[in-house]
C-alpha cells in the first residue's frame, strides 16, 4: 500500500481484495502510518480495491477510532460500486466523510 502526506493530510491507497485474510495487515499498516504522521485527516483511497467484504468495515472503524483519538477525521474516496454497497449497508457515512467520484 502506498501513501503520501500533504500538510496534515495523510492519504493511503488501499489495494486488491480486503477480506478477513488481509484485514489485520491492512489495519496494521494504517495504524502505523497514522502513528508516524499524526495527521488531521486520514484519506483512504479505494480506487484499486477490487473486492471488499465486512472486514473492510472493521478497517474503517479502526481508522476512525485512531483518528478520533487525535481529534482528526477519516475521509473515504474513489470507492468502486462493490465496496461502496458494503460500506453503505453498514452506514459508514456516520463515522467517515465520503467523497465519491467513481461512477456507479
Amino acid at each position: 500500500m502506498t501513501s503520501f502526506v500533504q500538510g496534515r493530510r495523510l492519504t493511503i491507497a488501499l489495494t486488491g481484495e480486503i477480506d478477513h485474510h488481509r484485514a489485520a495487515e491492512v489495519m496494521q499498516t494504517i495504524g502505523q502510518k497514522i502513528a508516524e504522521y499524526l495527521p488531521k485527516v486520514c484519506v483512504l483511497d479505494f480506487r484499486d480495491v477490487t473486492f471488499m467484504d465486512s472486514s473492510g468495515i472493521a478497517v474503517v472503524i479502526r481508522a476512525h477510532r485512531r483518528m478520533h483519538e487525535l481529534d482528526g477525521t477519516v475521509l473515504l474516496r474513489n470507492i468502486p460500486p462493490q465496496p461502496w454497497k458494503v460500506l453503505h449497508a453498514a452506514g459508514v457515512e456516520r463515522i467517515a466523510e465520503v467523497e465519491r467520484s467513481v461512477p456507479v
Partner: protein, 147 residues
C-alpha cells in the same frame, strides 16, 4: 419444487487463504446465469461472509472442513449452502443482530446483515457442538428482463 439444472460441491479446510478462492469459485459457477457485475459482487460478498464465519467462529482453534454446495435451480436461481461441523451458534437471533460480534475488533458484526440484504433469501440452522449451515438463494435477473 424447483428443478436442479446444475450443481457443484466444494470442500475446503478453514484456512483464511481459502476465502478468496471460495467466493471466486462460486462466482465462476454462477457465471452461466449471466449475472450483472452487481449481482456477482453481491454473491461474492455473501459467500465471503459465510466462509469467514466458519473460519473465525465455527473453528476458532482448529482447522476444520467447510462444505460449499451450489445449485442452479430452474427460474435462474442460484442456491448456495455453506456448512461446517464446528462449534455451532448458541443464540442465533443474537448472532444475526447487526453489529453483534463475539469476534475481536477485527470483525464488524455485519456478516449476517450483509448476507440477508444482498441475497434473495437466507436461512441459518445451527446446533451447538454439531455445526452450522447457511442456506442462501439469489435470483439472477434474466438477460431478457435486464435489457
Amino acid at each position: 419444487m424447483k428443478k436442479t439444472e446444475n450443481y457443484m460441491l466444494l470442500e475446503i479446510p478453514s484456512r483464511s487463504a481459502n476465502e478468496s478462492f471460495s467466493r471466486s469459485a462460486v462466482a465462476a459457477f454462477a457465471a452461466r446465469l449471466d449475472p450483472t457485475m452487481e449481482e456477482l459482487g453481491d454473491i461474492k460478498t455473501a459467500v465471503s461472509e459465510a466462509v469467514t464465519n466458519c473460519i473465525v467462529h465455527a473453528y476458532p482453534n482448529e482447522i476444520g472442513v467447510i462444505q460449499i454446495k451450489c445449485k442452479i435451480l430452474s427460474g435462474n436461481v442460484l442456491d448456495i449452502s455453506i456448512k461446517d461441523h464446528g462449534c455451532g451458534i448458541e443464540d442465533l437471533s443474537k448472532a444475526m443482530r447487526p453489529l453483534y460480534t463475539t469476534g475481536s475488533d477485527e470483525r464488524s458484526g455485519m456478516g449476517f446483515t450483509i448476507m440477508e440484504s444482498f441475497m434473495t433469501s437466507l436461512k441459518v440452522t445451527s446446533k451447538v457442538g454439531k455445526g452450522t449451515t447457511v442456506h442462501m438463494k439469489r435470483k439472477i435477473v434474466d438477460r431478457g428482463e435486464k435489457r
